[in-house]
Amino acid sequence: MAEDFRTQVERLRPYLLRYTSLQLRNPAAAEDAVQEALLAALASERSFAGRSNLRTWLTGILKHKIVDAIRKAGREPVLEEAQVEAELEDFNALFKANAHWQERPAAWQDPDAALEQKQFFAVLEDCLRGLPERTARAFMMREHLGLATGEICQELGVTPTHCWVLLYRARMALRLCLEKNWFGK
């Protein structure tokens, strides 16, 4: 019986690793987080008893390990407001001098249908991996781990303004990437 549980847990390792590597870019740190989550899971088999979905349960444990890893990796150097403002300039090319659209953004045809297509997720994953590391980390903490921005600022040791900026950059970059590689095709 104990064997069975271990095998089931081990079988989910590749999934957990892939999930983690979207959030921790350092492969060693990702491996460690998964390993710790698996060990914690095996040690608390009893608390799983009666729950229906092993993957969901393991992912819940893993989220804590990922936050721990981010915390361990240390805080971001605090940026000056001027630098934060500079980071926003990435997207200035989209706007004219009067801050209106250089070119009116096109509509996306049926985005919900994209969620039914396997190919779309490959594109989305590539887009996520293409984000700058800090930007990606803040975005993943928000969207994968479901943390509030207050917690994200705290964990990353950045100012609230910088937090907004990171999330904004992530979304704008993903929007452009999806448009270029999926919706614009």
């Binding site: 992912t59 953004p105 985005p111 928000r142 509030a148």
Partner: protein, 65 residues
């Protein structure tokens, strides 16, 4: 005070993370009334959350080896 498109995109992103103040919501709505580009972009930014959620599910189901 009118918002320009750049400010609208910033505020639309913040709307995903905090409850916007009434004044902010009103100014966004007013801007959306006459700006098709910003309406589209706001919708596209909002689409990212369900997309990421679906990706989380997908990684688990389709790709497990």
């Amino acid at each position: 005070m009118m918002l320009d498109c750049r400010e609208v995109t910033r505020l639309a992103s913040q709307g995903e993370d905090r409850k916007l103040a009434l004044g902010e919501r009103v100014r966004l709505r007013l801007h959306f009334l006459y700006c098709l580009g910003c309406r589209r972009v706001a919708r596209q930014l909002r689409f990212l959350r369900p997309a990421i959620r679906a990706l989380d599910q997908k990684i688990g189901s389709d790709h497990v080896f």
